[in-house]
Symmetry: C3
């Protein structure tokens, strides 16, 4: 389990090992041993598939969250960005990313072998190799939906002013190259894992902070939406549909059981089942702690009036915070970790405003700041993680992702431009980039002042 072997790969191997060890009593009955091994193989694969479809659905969650938090004149564009980025992420991870992250990685190198995944490993009934412990395509599917999640984080932050084409190019680079390289350092059993014992169970840093750093680089180079800061003071730009945003958060919460739970990477033993159950409970309670904390905090900040968006982001901050280590905390600790994440995300959003950085949906406070917190908090409950190792991972991945993302955004800005011209921004991405509106019957013709 995670506490024994921080690497996802090692965890996987040790658990497959466990199942086999458990069968040594069956040595006199090799057919029974094979049947038990096959049962574990099916359970492990099923976990990846269930986890995978749950995390896939998080793409719908991000879409609704972002569609609800942008203004109506940008809502169709953000939907197109979300379904597009999910698709591009899968294609890139197939073409390059998976093997860059997982194939031929070693403890000193910086990345693996960027070739397409596969060939398809569908075997005939007779030739299936049970010793791998799971179907390789199920693992590919599960890893693929994670890279899509990282990309989803970016779209919310840069919304309402980034150009569609350059955004998609950035997503392609992020999912083909940036995400897999940093991922190889840890989940690919690379240097962070081997040399520093860095631990990130389900991706507070590898997925959420990575998305957050990429988004931060983007919003710095993009600048804020016109009218967002007037005379140095922030102007609130309300989201167009808070019910959709709420739906998005619930979908994300729902999908997070797959995100964290299936990151146990095995269901082939009772110990796995126990671990995943604890992860489910902790994941839920960290989010619950985040909601209540953010709710109360929003009242403190807003003269007694609670704020729905702050509470929604509190849920997400709680979820991101527990993602680095959802297994070893007790429920009580999970609640506190989530609550602290919500505090960090809530004040982090205020900090960003003070820095005049415009993050439309609050993606950076939620995914980056709470992701750092969750990663650093892992040693509080997991004795096999160290603060030093965690700090090294946070800094190394942060520097790499921010620098490379900044370079890509910078190059795109120089070559293609990344920002809508002021008139297009005023009229909204929907009409200017797509030529059609998200809600053609509902909203008055957008003008520069809307």
């Amino acid at each position: 389990m995670s506490s024994k072997s921080p690497s996802r790969r090692l965890r996987r191997a040790s658990l497959a090992g466990f199942a086999i060890v458990a069968l040594t009593g069956l040595a006199a009955a090799p057919a029974a041993a094979q049947a038990a091994e096959e049962t574990a193989f099916i359970f492990n694969t099923l976990l990846f598939l269930i986890g995978g479809f749950l995390v896939m659905f998080m793409a719908a969650g991000f879409s609704m969250l972002e569609a609800g938090l942008v203004r109506a004149k940008h809502a169709a564009t953000i939907c197109l960005k979300n379904i597009g980025l999910y698709s591009i992420a899968g294609l890139m991870f197939y073409l390059v990313g998976y093997n860059l992250m997982y194939s031929g990685v070693d403890a000193t190198g910086l990345f693996g072998t960027p070739v397409p995944w596969g060939p398809s490993e569908l075997a005939s009934d007779e030739t299936i190799d049970l010793s791998g412990g799971y179907a390789s395509a199920s693992d590919w599917f599960f890893q693929m939906v994670f890279v899509a999640t990282a990309a989803s984080i970016v779209s919310g932050a840069v919304a309402e002013r980034v150009k569609l084409g350059p955004f998609f190019i950035f997503v392609a680079v992020l999912t083909a190259i940036i995400y897999p390289i940093q991922g190889s350092w840890e989940w690919g059993e690379g240097w962070l894992d081997a040399q520093f014992g860095f631990s990130d169970f389900a991706g507070s840093t590898l997925v959420h902070s990575t998305g957050g750093w990429a988004a931060l680089a983007g919003i710095i180079l993009l600048g804020s939406r016109s009218g967002r800061f007037v005379d140095g003071k922030p102007v609130v730009m309300h989201g167009s549909s808070l019910p959709l945003a709420t739906l998005g958060v619930f979908i994300l919460w729902f999908g997070w059981f797959g995100f964290n739970g299936a990151s146990q990477l095995a269901l082939g033993s009772a110990a796995d089942a126990v671990a995943i159950s604890q992860i489910f409970a902790n994941t839920n309670m960290a989010a619950a702690g985040g909601v209540v904390t953010a709710y109360l905090l929003s009242m403190v900040i807003n003269s007694g009036k609670p704020n729905l968006v702050v509470a929604l982001n509190g849920a997400l901050a709680g979820l991101v915070s527990i993602t680095a280590e959802p297994l070893t905390p007790t429920i009580y600790e999970a609640i506190l970790i989530g609550a602290a994440g919500a505090v960090i995300a809530t004040y982090g959003a205020i900090l960003l405003e003070k820095l005049r950085l415009d993050d439309v949906v609050g993606a950076i406070p939620v995914h980056l700041f709470a992701g750092i917190w969750g990663t650093l908090a892992a040693p509080l409950t997991n004795p096999d993680a160290s603060f030093l190792g965690q700090a090294v991972g946070v800094v190394a991945i942060g520097l790499f992702v921010f620098a490379t993302s900044f370079a890509v955004w910078f190059g795109l800005k120089a070559v293609l431009g990344i920002r809508l011209d002021p008139e297009s921004e005023a009229v909204g991405g929907d009409l200017s980039e797509l030529g059609h509106k998200a809600y053609p019957e509902f909203v008055p013709e957008p003008s520069a002042t809307t």
Copy 2:
């Protein structure tokens, strides 16, 4: 199975027992017997986890249903209530509720031991006790999402005029104390189960009627929305987004497969798999019968015009009706049980209007009235349930939940006030309580007449 042992706990135990009994043929091969026991342990745990995430997603269903059925000026508030109550329910059930319901309950006492759940029972690989039959955290997670469901029912009924803070306090008391105490009587193997053989497979009474009684006490003390009854006649206040309400019902229907199916509490044997399959089919068909019945009935009532909201509530009434006994009916019986539930809920809504009780979303007809019907209908198909036992359970739980809920609402009303002042109500909960709107670009400034 349910027909043999109405108690959830007993059902669980007997099924774990079954799996072990089935292995007695393996006595000569203890390693194989242990492997089979471990397989059953994983299946049982997996059922709780899948059922748990499905029921968790019902929180999104309730949110969308209620956001769609309130007027736009209250939509953000109802979203905040829903994500807040789900979070509070989990925290309270962790802190007090679970053990109050399940720990130290006996056949004559009135409740268990109100201490926090746990300590965390995550064991090492070597020390997992397979004899329990499932991971304890998976059971906790599954039970927790049920209490959240009960709380969700309340928010819809009292919408558009209850104050946020007192509502959350009520939710905390409901989920920490009221729900667990009545739950201990039956699912905790308490007096209703032991002395009266009361049977409630997945919670028509324990969950749905409980939520309904708590809601009824609330709306009596709150009074109706201003303008809801004029000169003694009801004025229809249309929901702001019926597509969202429809989405909510589909999500609830989807989640109900977990609600009823996983209430089999075990998947470790072929008999469990057969039972859960029947439950899935029955659950679906009761809802289908409810939809068609409510659709036709709405035409009869409305001079030939069908009504979408009535049909939606017909689905929910069918689902609630089959929840007390989803296993023993044939599909034909399940359709009839659901259809009858839809009739009861449809006319129940009219009855409430006649009594000038204002239930914004129809929660009481759907969850309370159809819940009573479903509970009383259990003996029609389950020979191990008796009408007397069912009636005792309905009355006992009804009296307890209504009385305690009334007392809590009454106390809150006296101390804090539970109702928005008329001006706040007119302007809408969103602006008056949160200071921001759900759809800032779409709806004209709300006025007292909207």
Copy 3:
């Protein structure tokens, strides 16, 4: 697996066979053999249940897609149609359809025995027959949600002008008779399967094209919406909520993992787990290929401006295309199959417009045209399918479904009328048929010109 035995039933039988064969090494230990058989029984049943609830949720996806793509004045009506058709489909498939499709079908006859499914086969613990390989109710549930999908396809195409009552009658006939008869030819092991080796893994033809043909007959007889073609030129009628349409597509994509994955019909062996994993990956990547292709194509068609609805339908076209054979392609092939499907659906939509056929949501290009493509493409990767056999299946099912659907729509038109009168159409189905609006606070009073 599919490549060995194109029939669903045969596939199922061969896989159950595989599990048993694999156990022959256990002949000396019959108790262990029985335990392994029971484990396979549980896995197979669990696959049907998980696949079933995922496909059930596709009803929500169709509802949101269609509610988002109709104009606001028809949105409540389309929601009612969708929850109604899902319910009617289940009832009809129970009463007549399942046995018409699966019971007593032979290689020369045209259909099975139209009697209600069941009686309920819930057995006691002692009498469960493991040799069937799965719980029969789980199979029924899984097959039932497929027929509902076929019906869902129709509602989108005929939206905004079909009368509610006749629509539901059509759905009843489609799901009770038309779908099951053509389904019996293939999945019921009838003549198409036995004599022509037709292969349709998860229903590109049996489900999607069937829905598409039924829709095509409907829109021919209904005629286009008033104002849709002016002076022979198409007028774009924008959907009212593209975020809801996007949500619908994501839900459908999510559900498709159940649609295609669980059509493997067994999870009881490692070979099944490997196959389902490949199906998940291929299904996802065909959709991803469809999105990117349709996105680029929409830019070509629309002078550089991409179109969200075209991209959404590209996802669905990719999914439909891979559905006939999601198992044998490599990922690379799956991407190409999905991309080609998106091309076909995109130009198919333009073709329909040229023919002045009005398909409100693009259901026919997506489900019929891409469904034909996917079916004909199966032999490209599956050596056990032949172009001749596929063509025979496409033509035979097409002729049968189109002719019978045309006859039913024609009869309904003659007897009841199937189209709203012009005034009702102008005012919208919501007010004219239901008497209430989907968004009462948002949209100005609809007029004939809206």
